[in-house]
């Protein structure tokens, strides 16, 4: 286990390094002159040169990269090229919307996907199982934007149960309204991701239903349901956990689109705005924070999976 932990942690660090280099290099080397973009088309060459010096862009790329990473380790991500605001506090503040959104989306996806997936597998020979499978296939194919629009149309415009867009200005100081504002966005992501989780759960449960140990348990007197619950579901849970790493990445990225649709002040919407403004210092940090979250979640899921899976424990011993 220790060896596995060290190896996996190394991979995480390498991943973060590669991510930071790719993001930095793509943003600095490819586009030509950042200072020119910031200064605009009306600027004189002298203004551009002054701006370049002011932004530290005249220094070698390696030095700029080390500045960025050094600052990152101290929690300082520099200043916006456009608004001159500090980047780190702004990202931290936006995460207070994006992280709860991702957590609520995950909860919605698990609550719908896992039980329905097991049900679809148990009912595999009946109409019910086929209907669940069909609906999951259809929902998994729906673009998140449209899913969100349908939910807004139903719950906000037609039924008036929930707010259609926006987030309270005071944020979590108004917990009730803040939570209500995140319900529809979380359901949007949760429905689409839940459909994917449903299909993985169904497939894992089907595999377990005919496994020898579950059949034996049924043969020695447990009902099929008891056998499945006690002896089948633990391994289904492990399979679902293994795909969660990828799905949580999907949740965070889905937040980019959903925050835009629901006008939520999260990191995703911030990224979309800053990409439009070509605010390079902000974009590089936002991308690294989002990618870092994805890599961290992948790391955590792998470690938990390893710790819970008795088969892998035996191999390690």
């Amino acid at each position: 286990m220790t060896r596995f932990l060290i190896g996996r942690a190394l991979l995480l660090v390498v991943g973060l390094l590669v991510a930071s280099v790719i993001i930095f290099a793509t943003l600095r080397v490819l586009p030509g002159d950042v200072a020119q973009v910031v200064a605009g088309t009306q600027s004189t060459p002298a203004q551009v040169a002054q701006l370049r010096e002011q932004l530290g862009l005249d220094r070698p790329p390696v030095a700029q990269y080390l500045d960025w990473i050094g600052g990152l380790l101290r929690g300082d991500l520099g200043r916006s090229l456009v608004t001159d605001g500090r980047v780190a506090p702004e990202i931290a503040q936006k995460l207070s919307v994006t992280l709860p959104l991702a957590a609520m989306s995950l909860a919605a996806a698990l609550v719908t996907g896992v039980p329905l997936g097991v049900l679809a597998a148990v009912l595999r020979k009946r109409a019910g199982g086929a209907v669940i499978g069909f609906v999951a296939q259809a929902v998994a194919a729906v673009p998140v934007v449209w899913a969100g629009m349908l939910l807004i149309a139903l719950f906000a415009v037609t039924l008036h149960w929930l707010p259609a867009q926006g987030f309270p200005l005071d944020g979590w100081d108004e917990p009730g309204r803040a939570f209500a504002a995140l319900v529809l966005p979380a359901l949007t992501i949760g429905a689409v991701e839940g459909a994917v989780i449903l299909r993985f759960t169904r497939s894992a449960t089907l595999g377990v239903l005919d496994a020898d140990h579950v059949r034996t348990a049924a043969a020695i007197g447990l009902t099929r349901t008891q056998a499945l619950l006690r002896h089948g579901l633990p391994s289904v849970a492990l399979t679902v956990l293994a795909v969660l790493g990828v799905q949580i990445a999907g949740l965070l990225v889905g937040a980019v689109v959903v925050e835009q649709l629901f006008s939520l002040p999260g990191v995703g919407r911030m990224l979309v705005t800053d990409v439009g403004r070509r605010d390079v210092t902000k974009v590089q940090s936002e991308l690294l924070v989002l990618t870092g979250l994805v890599l961290l979640v992948g790391f955590a899921v792998d470690v938990v999976h390893r710790a819970l899976d008795p088969r892998q424990r035996e191999v390690a011993a």
Binding site: V18, P31, V142, M149
Partner: protein, 290 residues
């Protein structure tokens, strides 16, 4: 193989929907019921009628014509991403399995790292550099799907290389290229096809997401994604108007991902001989939320 593919309802559905899409895209090159871009301020939000099959939008544009013109963008994005993903995937797989040991292991670590980068973030990175366009969508989906293909293929190639029939072939004197073309390539091909159809499904979803964010198709190109973006503004007044482009995207994505499932079912010898139920398999599904 084609016959086995359409023998399954899911395969038939996929082939019919995708065939129809390509035919409609070809038709749209020479004919649409109306000019998809002609605004008609006197006929905004018209109900479906013989002149406007699916009605008109906020600018009075004919929805049916715009949808039809949008098929071209969908086909272009899916095929373009598929081609790039294939090239990147094959090159990375070759580098990861045919080169010197240290290159192979370096590639393996790099793939482990790169596969974690979400497609949409790659697209945002490239958009920050090059501005939003369909080209950026195609390139970013192609790159990330290519990495995924190579990553998935690595395990499969290793499994095949260790299999008894390859050992037997080696023992009976078949050389490296013989094993490669007679055993590795044909046996890895179904997996490759499955991943490719998923890459194309991802591309269609990513186009919708990025066009929605304003970074995909420009206003001079008809696209289902930008249609969703346009209609979103009127969600309070015409909440159900986005059904056409939304359902069109969902139909194509479902067809592509079912095609992946069906190709696997039709080509996997374990399934065609014994276990026909398709159990013990992970479902295929698009890898992006966009």
């Amino acid at each position: 193989m084609i016959r086995r593919l359409v023998a399954r309802p899911t395969g038939l559905f996929a082939v019919v929907v995708l065939g129809l899409l390509v035919v409609l895209a070809a038709v749209s090159l020479v004919w649409t019921p109306q000019d998809p871009f002609r605004a008609d301020p006197f006929h905004q939000w018209a109900s479906p009628s013989p002149a406007h099959w699916f009605g008109t939008d906020a600018a009075g544009r004919d929805i049916a014509s715009y949808l039809l013109a949008g098929t071209r963008t969908t086909v272009l994005v899916a095929v373009g991403s598929g081609v790039i993903a294939s090239v990147v995937g094959i090159v990375l797989t070759a580098v990861g399995s045919l080169t010197a040991r240290w290159v192979r292991e370096g590639t393996a670590v790099l793939l482990d790292v790169l596969v974690a980068f979400p497609t949409l973030l790659t697209a945002m990175l490239l958009t920050a550099v090059a501005g939003g366009s369909l080209g950026v969508v195609v390139v970013s989906v192609g790159l990330s799907s290519g990495v995924t293909i190579a990553r998935v293929a690595r395990g499969e190639i290793r499994r095949i290389a260790r299999s008894d029939y390859v050992t037997a072939a080696r023992a009976s004197g078949v050389g490296g290229s013989g094993v490669l073309f007679r055993h590795l390539v044909p046996n890895a091909a179904p997996l490759f096809t499955v991943q490719l159809s998923l890459a194309m499904a991802t591309a269609v979803l990513a186009e919708a997401g990025l066009s929605y964010l304003g970074y995909g198709a420009g206003s001079d190109t008809a696209s289902w994604g930008s249609m969703l973006a346009d209609l979103q503004t009127y969600i309070g007044v015409h909440p159900w108007s986005a059904t056409w482009p939304g359902a069109a995207i969902a139909l194509v994505v479902a067809a592509l991902s079912l095609l992946g499932d069906a190709v696997r079912d039709a080509t996997d010898p374990r399934l065609t001989t014994g276990d026909r139920t398709g159990r013990n398999r992970a479902p295929a599904g698009p890898g992006v939320t966009a």
